[in-house]
């Protein structure tokens, strides 16, 4: 009995998933196995894998004309997730597998020659997509089952071989979905500890700046000589980030899974911290390629993008950061496709004040004013203007390092930040924005009210300092975050004052 059949499959393009229906037709004619539907070479090779896998699973392919079509036919198919649906479609067409409930099922997986089902990238996004288009059951590789099961309200079935799949399809009642505790437990996937802030001696100013920056997702610039602890402080920042919420975890896991970066883990466990080396190219930073691939800014989504030695990055690379920093997403257009990647990250940058690094310590720095200027000029004004906060760091004296006295632990700071984040979330629940740093000028008036006398002092400060409108808004946004850390409703004078102390004004100064 030869029938025509359609099976649902799915694949990843960029980081988003799209459905593909796999059609199989077996008929009379010269024995042949052909596949159509704008396929890339790895999908074309699928033919050989499927043929061997079917034979090695104990079935035999008849000498018939087999045609496989992957539709929609105008999207270029890439990836290895089509092996399983193709094999299933052939077996159903041959009548070896019952074709019940096919409309409500989806299959995703790569086959090895012996019929084993191997893991594929981007399972989470495919399962999410499947749920959205109304699929009720999805068969995925066993190795990906944990990740797929993160999605609620869809039956996720992990299979380890083609014969197991056939078995499952033939006896649907005996199958049990991967049981995962459907309530998400954050404790179970606690982040790797990282460097606790209590282990860092001194640098209290930088620590306070980091606390404010993380609480409101303000971009932070750290300037200081080599060895002053800029990188150390940056690397400790993940420890004060709040725990991932379920939604955030799903979003981050989706991105990492699509790019095959999850490794052995089934989920992302913490806010990402990305520190690309300064030789990075534009494409690697914001994403790109013939078929667009997400870059570091997307990998840093909901987390930190740390650029150490900022002036060492190629200028054109840094310039590409401007759009994602403004819009919190990256749009990449190519001839056939246009991809949009999320990029809602917090930029933390570190740099030396001059080429030798020791300015303004004249006993060690011999850089001329011109050299210093040329060094800081490597970073364009618009990019500097987007850095909200700035702090200058000096090396800690040796006796500070030797004291036994412990500083405030990351855990305590994190609790304050969590509280401030919660206040922000509640305040902005009607807008799409979640953080103070993301406030638009029109919203600042509404959400950052200041008393009359405070307004007066702020006006004086802005006038004295010659701040731009952007600078004025920056102070207000940072002050809002400080007030939130204090749990205060209204922005008071001291909040404005502290905000002004950390406000980044490097863009207009000559040199540092």
């Amino acid at each position: 009995m030869l029938i025509f059949c359609t099976v649902n499959g799915g694949a990843i393009s960029g980081i988003s998933a799209y459905p593909v229906s796999v059609e199989a037709d077996i008929g009379n004619g010269l024995p042949n196995f052909s596949m159509v539907g704008l396929l890339s070479s790895e999908v074309k090779e699928s033919r050989e894998r499927v043929r061997a896998a079917i034979r090695n699973s104990g079935f035999s392919l008849p000498a018939k004309r087999i045609t496989i079509n992957l539709s929609p036919a105008d999207i270029r198919k890439e990836g290895s997730s089509f092996d399983l649906p193709i094999a299933a479609a052939i077996l159903i067409s041959l009548g070896l597998v019952k074709s019940k409930n096919l409309k409500e099922s989806m299959l995703v997986g790569e086959l090895s020659l012996d019929g084993t089902v191997k893991e594929v990238n981007g399972i989470l996004n495919i399962v999410l997509m499947a749920k959205e288009i109304g699929i009720r059951r999805i068969f995925i590789p066993r190795a990906n089952a944990e990740e797929g099961a993160l999605v609620r309200d869809i039956e996720v079935i992990g299979v380890s071989s083609l014969s197991e799949l056939v078995n499952n399809l033939n006896n649907p009642d005996s199958v049990s979905a991967v049981s995962r505790n459907q309530t998400f437990v954050p404790e179970a996937i606690k982040a790797d500890p990282g460097i606790d802030l209590k282990e860092i001696r001194g640098q209290e100013v930088a620590k306070r700046a980091v606390e404010i920056a993380v609480a409101g997702m303000h971009n932070l610039l750290m300037v200081g000589p080599p060895g002053s602890g800029k990188s150390l402080i940056a690397h400790s920042m993940p420890t004060i980030f709040p725990e991932l919420s379920y939604e955030e975890m799903i979003e981050i896991t989706g991105i990492y899974s699509s790019l095959g970066l999850l490794g052995k883990k089934s989920t992302a466990s913490s806010h990402p911290f990305r520190a690309p080396h300064h030789t990075i190219t534009q494409q690697a930073l914001v994403g790109g390629g013939r078929t667009p691939r997400a870059g570091e800014v997307t990998l840093a989504h909901k987390g930190i993008l740390f650029l150490d030695e900022l002036p060492e990055y190629a200028r054109n690379v840094l310039e590409t950061l401007r759009q994602p920093m403004e819009e919190h997403k990256v749009t990449i257009n190519r001839e056939k496709t246009s991809c949009e990647f999320p990029a809602n990250f917090m930029l933390v940058a570190a740099m030396n004040p001059c080429p030798c690094g020791y300015h303004p310590d004249k006993s060690r720095c011999h850089c001329t004013q011109y050299a210093i200027r040329r060094y800081t000029d490597k970073i364009s004004g618009p990019l500097l203007g987007r850095m909200d906060m700035c702090t200058y760091m000096n090396p800690v004296e040796i006796n500070m390092l030797q004291t036994e006295e412990l500083n405030e632990a990351s855990e305590d700071i994190r609790q304050r930040i969590e509280k401030a984040r919660w206040i922000q979330k509640k305040r902005y629940q009607e807008t799409e924005n979640v953080f103070n740093s993301r406030l638009r000028p029109s919203e600042i008036r509404k959400f950052c009210p200041v008393g009359e006398d405070v307004q007066k002092i702020l006006t004086k400060y802005v006038k004295d300092k010659g701040c731009s409108a952007r600078g004025y808004h920056k102070i207000l946004k940072i002050a809002r975050t400080i007030a939130d850390l204090d749990g205060e409703k209204e922005i008071r004078r001291e909040h404005i004052m502290e905000a002004a102390a950390y406000r980044n004004n490097m863009s207009k100064e000559t040199g540092v």
Binding site: E204, V205, A501
Partner: protein
């Protein structure tokens, strides 16, 4: 041709330099004779091809006056120099010989202390009717001229390149202000590019024009010390601003003091009979502060300090210190030298 034209021709002849003019003058006595008789030393084409009077006219139109050796405006003091310049190109005015003139010199990459001292000293001098002269370089030179302009006095700059070129370029505003408040002077013909050797060379004019010179800040090996040598040869009084022994930017000054330079502590050191209010450089706080503010203020120094250090010394939290520092900044008695670092204002 007039004497002025002869001098102009001689000073702007191609490949002309101080030593060559010296030799020619020694041999032929006047530029007129050089023009007519010095055949072997100067190429003939140059004399015939140039239209000197038109060039002088052009110079005049762009507001540059040409003052030659022997001109009635040529500063008397410069005749005494053993390597005196033969001409000066001036935009604005020359210093008034009736009034005292002080040269202020020092390091280009000066410290905050040097900057504050230069600004304040120059301002005080200017307020007391003393003219200030410097070299329009970065650092101390620029701050001295700025301070004098702020004090509303006459200020002069001696450039190490053609008078129509502003070097360093970022000082263009100061360059224009100096011309308005006094004048820019150069011995090099317009269009001369800045070259490293011309700067120490022009220093002899700075010291030559002045009565006294103050050296604000200098490292062990500093170009300013060349000016000091010129000044000593020319018999000018040399004053040095003392600094901390640990400060590399004060080693030059302190060494000068050890070698016999006078210590500069206030402007009456320069002119004892100056009738000015006795005020020193130490405290300029005009308002009485609250207690906490006072504690923080007392820990702010002329050397920039970080918020962290000030907070440790005044025993307040980082938050409180930061808030008070910004308040003090707003009150105008301290300022932020770079992010999160503060310094006193003199």
């Amino acid at each position: 041709m007039t004497i002025e034209e002869y001098w102009y021709w001689l000073c702007t002849a191609p490949a002309m330099w101080q030593g060559k003019i010296d030799r020619l003058i020694k041999k032929y006595e006047t530029p007129e004779k050089i023009f007519h008789f010095a055949f072997s030393e100067i190429e003939k084409e140059d004399k015939l091809s140039r239209n000197i009077s038109m060039e002088l006219n052009k110079l005049d139109k762009s507001g540059i006056s040409f003052i030659y050796y022997g001109h009635k405006l040529f500063p008397k003091k410069l005749y005494d120099l053993y390597d005196n310049p033969y001409c000066l190109f001036v935009k604005g005015n020359l210093p008034d010989p009736q009034k005292p003139l002080v040269a202020m010199i020092g390091a280009r990459d000066c410290s905050n202390y040097g900057k504050e001292m230069a600004l304040k000293t120059a301002e005080k001098l200017a307020r007391n009717g003393i003219q200030v002269i410097s070299g329009l370089a970065r650092g101390i030179d620029a701050f001295s001229q700025k301070g004098a302009i702020k004090g509303g006095g006459s200020v002069f700059g001696v450039a190490g390149c053609g008078i129509d070129i502003c070097y360093p370029r970022e000082n263009i505003e100061l360059f224009m202000e100096t011309i308005r408040a006094g004048g820019m002077i150069s011995e090099y013909p317009p269009g001369t590019r800045p070259a490293a050797w011309r700067f120490p060379h022009r220093n002899r004019i700075i010291s030559g024009l002045s009565d006294k010179i103050i050296i604000m800040e200098a490292k062990e090996k500093s170009g300013s010390l060349i000016t000091v040598e010129h000044a000593l040869e020319q018999g000018r009084d040399v004053f040095a601003v003392p600094g901390r022994l640990t400060d590399p930017l004060s080693t030059g000054c302190n060494r000068l003091i050890r070698e016999g330079a006078q210590v500069f502590t206030e402007i009456t050191d320069l002119y004892p009979d100056l009738e000015t209010k006795k005020e020193n450089f130490q405290d300029n706080k005009r308002i009485i502060l609250e207690k906490d503010f006072e504690v923080v203020y007392s820990n702010v120094d002329l050397l920039p300090k970080s918020i962290g250090q000030i907070s440790k010394e005044s025993n307040f939290t980082i938050r409180k210190t930061a808030e008070i520092l910004v308040e003090l900044e707003l009150a105008g008695i301290i300022y932020e030298t770079m992010k999160t670092y503060f310094s006193r204002k003199l």
